[in-house]
Amino acid sequence: MKRGDFKRAAGRRKSEDLPAGNDNLPAAPPHWDLAGLYPGLDSAELMADKEKLDHLARAFKGNYQDSVAYISGPELGIAIQEYEEICSLSSRLASYLFLFEAGDMSNFIKTGKIKAELSDICKPLDFFEDELVNIPQKDILVKMAAPELARYAPWIANILDGALTGGSENLSHLRHDFFMANTEAWQRLYREMLDAQRIDFQGRRLTLDEADVLMNAGRGISAQDKNNLRQAIAEKLKTQGKKSALIYNALMQDNRIEGRLHGYTRPDQAVNAENGIAPEVIDTMRSTLREYYAEQSHRFYEWASAQAGAPAASSGKNEPVKKGYSFDAARKLILRAFRKFSPGFSRTAARFFHEKRIDALPRPGKESGAFSQPVCPGELSFIMMNYTGELQDVVVLGHELGHGIHQKLSEDACGFFKSGVSTPVAETASIFMEMLVFEEILQQEKDPAIRKRLLVEKVENMLSNSLQQLAYYEFECRVHKERESGEVPFERISDLWVEAQKEYYGPAIVMDDYNRYSWMTVPHFFETPFYVYSYAFAQVLVSSLYQAYQEAVEKGPEARMEFVDSYTELLQTGMTRSLHEMFWPFGLDLEEPEFWHSGMSLTDKYMKELFAMEAPAPAGRNTSAPAGKKEKPSPPSKSP
């Protein structure tokens, strides 16, 4: 199996309580049903699959070890096919464990042993990829003539790209050991540290998540209380500063050591390689998007501050217009929006509801955040989120269903190995679907105050997905750079963090202690360094793509159908095309600064519409998504 399959996806935080304000929900959001995978952790079915995996892995090793470089092209193709089947099985097991934990965090202790066993069971397979990458290039090209092998070419290319060159098999085992025993332990410590924090507030003991939700809630809390709570969170975070800095410094250096072994020269290179994006493209993005800070984020927050009435801190006074959606209403709305785009999409989405693939019911011990987790070929993904009836939840559900559809399409078309895609591509489907859902809500809505609020949320979301993630990336670049010459003390990390946020928010927002210490609450920095830029990349990419769709719609039904076909095909490519190739049919050239400008212009469009509105000032800011709602790092709240 692929290394790191047991690694958890980034960006989720756990909550232990319902966010406030779900009072008007008639029907409870659903639980998922994992029994179709396995009846239970101790079930005979699971044990049988574990034994089967053990048997297959050992037989595979017996058949192929020390001969991968010498077998013929067709034989190698067959070997990879067998390997793919074994990995599918292991993925089924690993996904089940992962989902089992996500539904109830206290299950973590129950799964530890079996995860270690699975890791051991899969160890005999390690030789295969190691030997594969060591086949001389000439030989592999010759073998590639065999059709059995040729169909795996993109997967092989992917393995070669991530391979450690020059290291022995022993070293890669050792690295694997250290990953499991050390890197993951730091990440777990980080999670446990955040989970353990309690904030005493008005007689309640709140978790960080709960405090965050309450602070961002529109109702039931005065501006003064919000401010107190904000300070209380900041103080609590500060007490964990030294510990967080120790963990962060260890993980940064860890990233550096592993990077050096790969021959990487930049700290973000692991993510770039995984994303299949050339470093120059990232640099272009970085320098092009920076120009938009003043024009977009500074302007937006200045406007929002003015709307809320100075000083900015008082913005929370305005009660946001509340509009609750039952889960059922959300389902109908989403399916309708999908159907308008493509009936096929809508049908697939409907299956997730019917087949109980969605766990949307918030409850204690369940992870917060949201994800769509693929299992193995032939199985629909599982979607987890916490549905509380906010508008934002509807959008998030649309987002995750976008992932789910994408995963299904690419797996059907490419099989298990070739279905994996990089973040920017993965987010293409999800953010695009999110856009469709948003437009559907906007079109339905007649009340100008609510329309205004929707636009505020949209603009803020787009900004936080693009420019704010870029600022996060800037922060990471700087702090990793300083780590190279020694440990970065806690307060210094906080300085760099404030600096990057100031660049994003501009003069309208005053930085306080909460802004200063909130870096500790962004799991990406600890678990998947530099990953955040992928969100900015994806947001801009989708903005461009969505503009292309709008143009096609304007041109007429034929052009629209053509777009839908190309788009569906895009979701079926898996890893069989490079990023550049994938977006070429839509007239998008990622290597040109022009591409980035066109993406950012969609935000401009919404901002113009918003600023032109005469409706009474709605909630303004503070209506942003509660922390951890999505996979993206949630923006720390803006108001000081």
């Binding site: 202790i109 530890g112 042993k113 270690a116 290291g167 022995s168 022993n170 070293l171 085992h173 050792l174 690295r175 050991d177 250290f178 499991m180 025993a181 050390n182 332990a185 730091w186 777990r188 410590l189 446990e192 540290m193 353990a196 030294k242 510990k243 120790l246 963990i247 410094n249 260890a250 993980l251 250096q253 860890d254 050591i257 072994l261 020694g486």
Partner: protein
Amino acid sequence: MPYWNVHVTKWVMMGKDMQDDGCLPRWDLRDLFPSDTAPELFQSLDDVERDACLFSQRYSGKITAMPGKDLAGAIAAFESLSERMGRIQSYASLSRAVDQEKDIWAEGIYNRLRGASEKLLFFKLEINRISEIDLLTRVAAPGLAAYAPWIGQVRSFRGHQLSEEEETYIQQKFPVAQGAWVRLFDQTLMDMRFNLDGREVTKEQILNVMNTSPDKRERHQAFAEFNRVLGENGKTFSLITNTLAGLKARTDERRGFTSPESSRHLANRIDVKTVEAMAGAVRDGYARTAHRYYEWKAKKFGVHRLHPADRNAPLPGDAGKKIPWAEAQKIILAAYEKVSPEMAAIAKEFFDKGWIDAEPRAGKRGGAFTHSTVPSAHPYIMVNYFGSPRDVQVLAHELGHGVHQVLAARQGYLKASTPLTLAETASVFSEMMVFRALLDREDDMIARRKMIAAKIEDMMNTVVRQTAFYTFEQRVHGEYREKGELPPERISRIWVETQRQSLGASVNMDVPGAENGWMYIPHFINKPFYVYAYAFGDCLVNALYDEYQKAPDKKGFEKKYLELLKAGGTKPHEEALAPFGFDTASPAFWKRGISVIERYIDELIALDRKIEAVQKSTGDFKNSARDMVDPLRPGNDNQPVRRKKPPAPGGVS
């Protein structure tokens, strides 16, 4: 990199003013470098960095094929370079020990030394790659034979060595793996705050109350609060413990170590049979030592079962007369003179030449240690002297280390370091001598009883408790390897079981919070399986001291004793001890060491009966144990007050 085992005692924390008549000495580190900003220091750092590069360019990849004569030259160059690095490292850590403000400065120096020592890593690895036959034919070469003991020690890891890329990887990972977890452990303990009657106090402060408060209620309250906060952090401590067990299990497996203790035994140059003979004898003696002593103590405290916080609580009576520094010096040197004039002469140098730092002051570390530094200089001793009899014994203990290190230094840098099993020989021995001398000076029976009880408790904490720790570690690591992660409750369960077994029924392990005792013991974290060496050393020296007392020919004993100390790292313990006729693999030998403790208990109980008889006849019950306590006696709850010399940089094991 050097990691010190610093035992932070309670004196410093109590902020007790020093009231010595004379001035207490501070050490003079100029024998190492003129100052922490001296150009000599930074020149030397530049030099070792450059020379490490040159050394690696010159020798890397060439060791296995090198003629014996050249190999001897390479080792000599390695020794000289290591010694120069050792000098810098010693200077940095000694400066830091008496001035906390120098932390960052020292960390910067360690970083540079770490970089240099990484360049030297190849050397030992390549020495291990020389085939047995090649080595035998070369060892006769001029200069090489002298290094044979060191080569032998390096090569004892041969079968457990990985490829150079793996070893380099492990070394690079260390600071973000094991090293960082140890730091997390230290930081977690240091940042803990406790609530004592509304006051916020640190770990040191609360332990001080728990161990030394004259008020039983206060002690128990401190115990409850201390363990409550430990419990709150139980998940973190458990994660640290499990992570380190996991890292150890994985690297042990790669290196081909069959049991969790194996790598430690190898580093200590000891076989498992000897360790088990020792640990087994101690376990067999639990009833005759710890169980018996704590039963007596419980009775003294008027309870059926001792509260764990009362286990180290002092007996009644004052601490004995204050002993000024000059008098302490006299007592110690006189005791040394009796055993060996040669050793007394060396000990005198420490006093005369500014090799001791005894003055307690702000920013100075608590506790005591001896640092061997390098053979081209001399050892330094740090203590915090307040003038109690206990302080005099600590000073004697450290002087024992110091004298031992001076004698062993003649072996040169690579061979001077004594194996752990023998490292406590001179220190414990001289502590014994001085204890006897102090006891002889004291004529107040109650003070004498207190002194003997304190001595016994030291021995309990060194021999019995460390053996119980060892058993605890064996079970935790063993279970981890068998079943995976241990939840905190499970670790606590093992703790309670091993404690109950060793301390006996008279110490109440059912007190809530007692199960958290494992959480704050640094050795489990930074030196797994190190603890048994304390018990080993103490028992061994007990037997040696017994031998001395019974020896008809004291001159003959002195000669053998000096030989033992001078051997440094050139002989494993069984060889070094052979002249005394000791067989450390036999349980009978260890029984002899343990019987010394039993005799102390006999002496205590006999004295106690005498006191009771006198009290009965005079009707003097004022000194009943429950209301008289001496606040000056240090609690030594976890570790015996023994120190080990910090490892030199560049070590591979």
